[in-house]
Symmetry: C2
């Protein structure tokens, strides 16, 4: 029988009434003939409570104990869902990570799944089990200690099970009903996508469309797991949500899939840096050490052996970056005339695998922004994405203009 | 190095401040040179919350899933205490039941501990571990499922670890400071006992002095584990609390150790029962089936082939008992003229291993009650206990009189 993985996040299992709704959805898939593996998160708020207690014990806590404590929330949900499924007449049982076992690395609180043997479930499904309820987010290290995969790790658990069991699909139930062409709060013309390619999803996710954990999408891409994102609060239907899949599985798509943005960016420019081999390392090394997440980087053509270096970063890291640069200058590691920070910028990006085969996307983007009088401060491009930094006050205007220009309202 | 087991109940670990107090107490024992095994319960209220959720899922829930859910509370406390101990500079780690492993029977939610291998801890203690924090109340079945030992099972976990590790002592920290000669609310003359024999403790515990789980005392008696009951809310001292130990370890003791009582008892009499072989089974079989906990049983001498059968039971089970007896009469299984229930009685008992070697304890007891005008309705005796049923209104008076008569105020 085909296998299906269903994953339910914290708000979907926040209390017993919601767990009962989840059980009904699972029952529908069982009735269709699937062998179902359900991956659950902790009831919403529970993990935060546990993390809060751990943080109270010590600033430098033992990550192994953190994992032992924090993983308990998922165990509760898994047991309760199994009980409700049984009450509905479905053969179900719960599995904690160590029982499967979900074998992970020893990198506690950020462990990577290394292997999920399938013989355990195979035998139980053959013996009549209809649903395996798995506590997400957790595994067991080679030393026999409990590990966790990091926040949002239940998505990764779900995809890993889908890959190991060659599941027909991995349905991620969440509190949004799919992936949109852009944030509907910025333009009401935003449209839910029926399908999106893994690569596009990765670019959109890392740009702030927080629907799926980036790691889970990477894993799905590697193992070609068909992911579906859908809402646990809407009626079920076969074409609900958004399918995240291999680009070959998308019959026809727009050149641009969506417009992403990041509101609170800053732009820093080191004016007149001595241009010598190793200068980039001298600049970005200290920034990385200071925990600054540099995003876009642009270097001007050098004149008279000096150049300007511009980069973007989250606006709340500007002070840290300025301190790191001042120290690097004082210690003589780098030399620059001035440091200019612009804290009133936003990043807007268009993303689409269609760009690979269609020329003129950049030109069309710049034209649309120009027509609205939006000045572009920095540009970076990748194979399937073009990003610009603009003044923050134009951000909504820019997103709306690009959404119109690439006709994202219509499929 | 000598090993010590310390067990902390739910109120002792109710929040992080209390867990920090617990860590200090553990630190004191570590400083004395003990290798310490700490057994913890769930933070108070947590287990009830989990049990409540399970009860909401189904009336006839799967006990395996109940155990998976309900055991999670202890895991949280164990991890948190290990973290606080580490913060105090102590080498500590937490262990869940399956990690030790605490091998139990498959009787989910009422499992019995079958084996606790010690090699795991032995190796870790040798490698520098100072404290093993064990999640109480749980184990693992031969099938690899999580089991629990039933409510209060953490006491049993602690004693089982003490037995397996030949611990010097097993200290049970609770919210009372020891075992008393009787309930201090009944007489202010009640005195805390420095030591009490296992057999006495068993009689006192089952009579309602709810300090220790009966099973844990039985286990301690079988393996000669020296138990100490003491309060986690008082200052530490070497002779705090009450030592529960083998009678040989008690140097000198009173003939009577304490006066126990059970307030809400009832007395039922089947009048003029046909006295034939098997009549007791015909009466008490249906009562057991109806869930009635019969305690004292007295049968009069038969006259003309008929007898009166009197027994005591908790007052809230009288209706059930009457129904069961009426049905048994209707079906012809037993035959009696009348059924009389007296719901206004209490049981008072004197308990002491000294009775074995001292005659006249019963006489002294009856004399003391008689001097106060207390009429005795039923008497039963065992080797170390004499119990009487009396009118409830005299209960406090009887306890006080017996406490005085046996001079329990003075050691």
């Amino acid at each position: 029988m085909p296998r299906l993985v269903m994953k339910f996040g914290g708000t979907s299992v926040a209390n017993l009434d919601r767990i009962k709704r989840v059980a009904k959805r699972v029952g529908v898939e069982v009735a269709k003939g699937y062998e179902v593996i359900v991956v659950v998160s902790a009831m919403s708020g529970k993990t935060n409570e546990l993390v809060g207690w751990v943080n109270e014990t010590s600033a430098l806590y033992d990550a192994r104990e953190y994992d032992a404590v924090v993983s308990s929330g998922e165990n509760v949900t898994a047991g309760l869902l199994a009980l409700v499924l049984q009450e509905n007449g479905i053969e179900a049982r719960s599995w904690q990570g160590w029982q499967v076992p979900v074998k992970t690395s020893s990198a506690h609180s950020a462990a990577r799944i290394e292997e999920i043997p399938t013989d355990n479930f195979d035998a139980k499904f053959s013996a009549g089990m209809q649903v395996a309820v798995v506590a997400g987010f957790q595994g067991i290290s080679p030393e026999g200690r409990i590990t966790t995969l990091g926040r949002g790790g239940s998505d990764t658990t779900a995809v890993a099970f889908a890959a190991a069991h060659s599941a027909e699909r991995c349905d991620i139930y969440t509190d949004v009903d799919g992936v949109y062409t852009t944030d509907p709060r910025v333009t009401r013309k935003a449209r839910k996508l029926d399908a999106i390619a893994f690569e596009e999803m990765l670019e959109l996710a890392s740009l702030g469309a927080k629907v799926l954990q980036t790691r889970s999408v990477e894993l799905a891409m590697r193992y070609k797991v068909r992911l579906r994102v859908l809402s646990s609060f809407e009626e079920m239907s076969d074409n609900a949500g958004t399918l995240v899949c291999d680009e070959e599985d998308i019959m026809e798509s727009n050149v641009v899939a969506g417009v992403a943005f990041s509101r609170d960016e800053a732009k820093m420019t080191l004016v007149s840096v001595a241009d010598r081999p190793g200068v980039s390392a001298a600049i970005f090394g200290p920034l990385a050490d200071a925990g600054v997440n540099v995003d876009m980087i642009v270097q001007n053509i050098a004149e008279d052996g000096r150049t300007d270096m511009t980069f973007s970063l989250p606006v709340d890291q500007v002070a840290r970056a300025e301190k790191a640069m001042a120290e690097a200058k004082d210690s003589g590691d780098i030399n620059f005339h001035d440091l200019i920070a612009d804290t009133e910028v936003s990043k807007v990006s268009v993303v689409g695998i269609g760009m690979r085969s269609h020329a003129g996307v950049a030109a069309k983007m710049f034209e649309a922004l120009s027509a609205e009088g939006v000045n572009i401060k920095v540009i970076t491009t990748s194979e399937i994405k073009i990003s610009v930094l603009i003044d923050r006050k134009y951000m909504e205007l820019a997103v709306q203009a690009l959404h119109d220009a690439f006709e994202l309202e219509t499929a």
